[in-house]
C-alpha cells in the first residue's frame, strides 16, 4: 500500500511502518501534545511553508490567569503582528496605512491539535516514529494516518521533554507534503504547575462535547447540508459581511476538531448569474456552485473527497 511504502521511504531509521498504537495510547499521545502549548511558555522563530510560499514568524507564548496569550510577528513580507488571546486574534498590519483585522480564531502553530485531541484517535491511526532533531532539540516523530479519505495526514515531531510540536507537516495520502511548520529556534520555559482554570484538561471520557456555537448563530438558512464526513459537525454558524458591502454572507464551519471546512451561502449576484467551479491548491480545496437562489462556496483544508461530499449534499431549504 502506498502509505506503507511512504513510511519505509522516509528512511528515518526506526521509522518503519510500525503498527498503529492502540487507540487509548494514541489518544493519550494526542492529548499530551494538545495540552503542551497550554502548559509551557515559549518563544522562538518558525517557518511556515505552503505551496510555493514561505513565511518566517517570530512567536512568543505566555500563560496568564485567563489562559494563554501569544504574539506573532511576521519577519518577512508585509509588516504584520498578530496577538492571540482565547478565542480570537487581532492582526496589526503595518505599512503606509496600518490597520487592524480581527479574526475569530486564535490557533496557530505549534498549538494545532484541538483541546480534546484524544478523540482524534477515532479518525486517525497514530504511529510512533524515531527520534529526530529540530531547532537543536530532540523530538519524537509521530504519524497521524487518516482512516478514511476525508482528512489529510499529519507528521508531527514533538519535543521529548515538553511534547510541544517542533515540526508539523500536512501530507496527502501518498505522503507528499502539502504544508509544513517548523521551528528554526525555540526556547521553552519550565512547565507551569497546572493548566489555568480557563483551559481545563479534558479527559477522554468528556472530550466528545462539541464546542458551543457562538451567539450570532443562524437559525434559518437558504440551504441545508444533508451529509457530513464522519466525525464532522457544524461548529460555527455566523453571518458576516464579506466581499460586498451591505450583504451578509452566511458562514458555517464543519470540523472534526482538526480539519475545517467552511460553507458560504449568499444570494445570487445582482444579475442572477451563478458560477460553478472548482479549485485545488495545496491542502485547500474549493467548490462553488448555485443551489436554489443562492451561490454557495465550500472551502476546506481537506481532501477533495470531503469537500465534494459536503458540496454534493447541499440542498435548497424547503420554503
Amino acid at each position: 500500500m502506498r502509505w506503507a511504502l511512504f513510511l519505509l521511504g522516509l528512511g528515518c531509521g526506526v521509522a518503519q511502518a510500525a503498527d498503529p498504537l492502540p487507540p487509548q495510547d494514541a489518544a493519550a499521545w494526542l492529548q499530551r501534545i494538545a495540552e503542551a502549548s497550554n502548559r509551557y511558555a515559549y518563544q522562538g522563530v518558525f517557518i511556515h511553508q505552503h505551496g510555493d510560499r514561505m513565511q518566517t514568524l517570530q512567536v512568543s507564548n505566555r500563560l496568564s490567569v485567563t489562559g494563554k496569550e501569544s504574539r506573532l510577528i511576521g519577519m518577512d513580507g508585509a509588516q504584520r503582528e498578530v496577538r492571540c488571546t482565547r478565542g480570537e486574534s487581532v492582526s496589526i498590519v503595518g505599512g503606509t496605512s496600518p490597520r487592524l483585522e480581527r479574526r475569530l480564531g486564535s490557533r496557530h502553530f505549534p498549538d494545532l491539535l484541538p483541546p480534546d485531541a484524544g478523540r482524534m484517535a477515532a479518525w486517525y491511526d497514530v504511529r510512533l516514529g524515531g527520534i529526530e532533531r529540530v531547532a537543536g532539540l530532540d523530538c519524537q516523530s509521530l504519524t497521524l494516518e487518516p482512516k478514511d479519505q476525508y482528512r489529510w495526514g499529519h507528521i508531527l515531531c514533538v519535543d521529548k521533554d515538553s511534547n510541544l510540536p517542533l515540526k508539523a507537516v500536512l501530507i496527502d495520502h501518498r505522503g507528499r507534503p502539502l504544508m509544513q511548520y517548523s521551528f528554526a529556534e525555540l526556547q521553552i520555559a519550565k512547565a507551569t504547575a497546572s493548566v489555568s482554570a480557563a483551559a481545563p484538561r479534558t479527559r477522554l471520557a468528556t472530550a466528545r462535547a462539541v464546542p458551543p456555537e457562538p451567539p450570532n448563530t443562524i437559525v434559518s438558512s437558504a440551504v441545508e447540508v444533508k451529509q457530513l464526513p464522519p466525525g464532522f459537525s457544524r461548529v460555527i454558524a455566523v453571518k458576516r459581511p464579506l466581499a460586498k458591502p451591505g450583504i451578509d454572507v452566511e458562514h458555517w464551519v464543519f470540523s472534526d476538531g482538526l480539519t475545517h471546512i467552511s460553507l458560504f451561502v449568499e444570494p445570487l449576484a445582482r444579475d442572477n448569474v451563478s458560477l460553478k467551479g472548482a479549485s485545488q491548491r495545496g491542502m485547500t480545496n474549493l467548490r462553488t456552485l448555485r443551489v436554489g437562489q443562492s451561490q454557495v462556496t465550500v472551502v476546506g483544508d481537506a481532501p477533495p473527497a470531503a469537500v465534494d461530499l459536503i458540496t454534493s449534499s447541499i440542498e435548497a431549504s424547503p420554503k
Binding site: 496527502d172 501518498r174 507528499r176 458591502p245 444579475d271 458560477l275 467551479g277 472548482a278 491548491r281
Partner: protein, 199 residues
C-alpha cells in the same frame, strides 16, 4: 425602459455605426467582466488583456447579437470562452491544473500554477476607491443613503423604493441621482479625472 432594453438600444446604435454607443456599454460592464475573469485568471494584466479581447470580439460579433438575451449575458459568454481559450493555450506553455488532474488527486504538486502578482498600483487605487466610496456613503444624509442602498444593494425599482420610503418616485429619482453625484465627487480627486479615460 428596462436596463436590458437600454443596453439593446445602445447595441442598436453601435450596429448603426456609432462606436461611442458601444463605448458606453464597455464603461458600464468592464469591471463586472473583469471580476468574472479574475475568478479564472490570477494576473491582473492578463485579466485586462482578456477583457479587452472580449470586448473587441463582442464588437466584431455585434451583427450576431440577436437581442433575445441580455447584452451582459452574451458578453459574459464571450468572456468565459476567451478566458478558456487563453488558459488552454497557456496550459501548453507551462504546467497548470488540467481538468483531468482535478479529478485525480494524485498530482497535487504538479498543480501549482506559477505565481502571478497583481499590479500594486492598480490594487492600491482600487482600495482607495473602495474606501472613498464607503466613506462617501457613510457621509450621505440618511434619505440619500437609504435610497442608494435600496437601489444598488437590494436592486429595488424606484417604485418599490418610493413605497418603502413613502415619497414620490420623482423624489426617489432625485435622491439616487444626488447620492451618486455626492459619491462620484469624492472619487474624482482620487482618479484625477472627471470620469474620463482613467476608468
Amino acid at each position: 425602459m428596462s436596463e436590458q432594453d437600454i443596453d439593446r438600444q445602445l447595441v442598436e446604435r453601435a450596429r448603426n455605426g456609432d462606436k461611442r454607443a458601444f463605448d458606453l456599454l464597455v464603461q458600464k460592464y468592464h469591471r463586472r467582466l473583469m471580476r468574472l475573469l479574475s475568478r479564472m485568471v490570477r494576473n491582473q494584466e492578463e485579466v485586462e488583456d482578456i477583457a479587452q479581447e472580449t470586448f473587441i470580439k463582442a464588437y466584431r460579433a455585434l451583427p450576431q447579437f440577436r437581442g433575445d438575451a441580455a447584452f451582459y449575458t452574451w458578453l459574459y459568454r464571450i468572456g468565459v470562452n476567451t478566458a478558456r481559450n487563453y488558459l488552454s493555450s497557456r496550459k501548453r506553455q507551462m504546467p497548470t491544473i488540467s481538468d483531468q488532474a482535478m479529478n485525480d488527486d494524485d498530482d497535487v504538486d504538479e498543480r501549482i500554477v506559477a505565481q502571478d502578482i497583481n499590479t500594486p498600483e492598480s490594487m492600491l487605487l482600487s482600495k482607495q476607491v473602495a474606501m472613498a466610496v464607503n466613506e462617501a456613503v457613510e457621509a450621505l444624509p440618511e434619505e440619500l443613503r437609504t435610497a442608494i442602498t435600496l437601489r444598488e444593494m437590494e436592486g429595488l425599482s424606484y417604485e418599490e423604493i418610493a413605497e418603502m420610503m413613502v415619497c414620490p418616485i420623482g423624489t426617489v429619482r432625485s435622491r439616487i441621482f444626488r447620492a451618486r453625484e455626492a459619491i462620484a465627487a469624492k472619487l474624482r480627486p482620487i482618479l484625477g479625472t472627471t470620469g474620463d479615460t482613467r476608468w
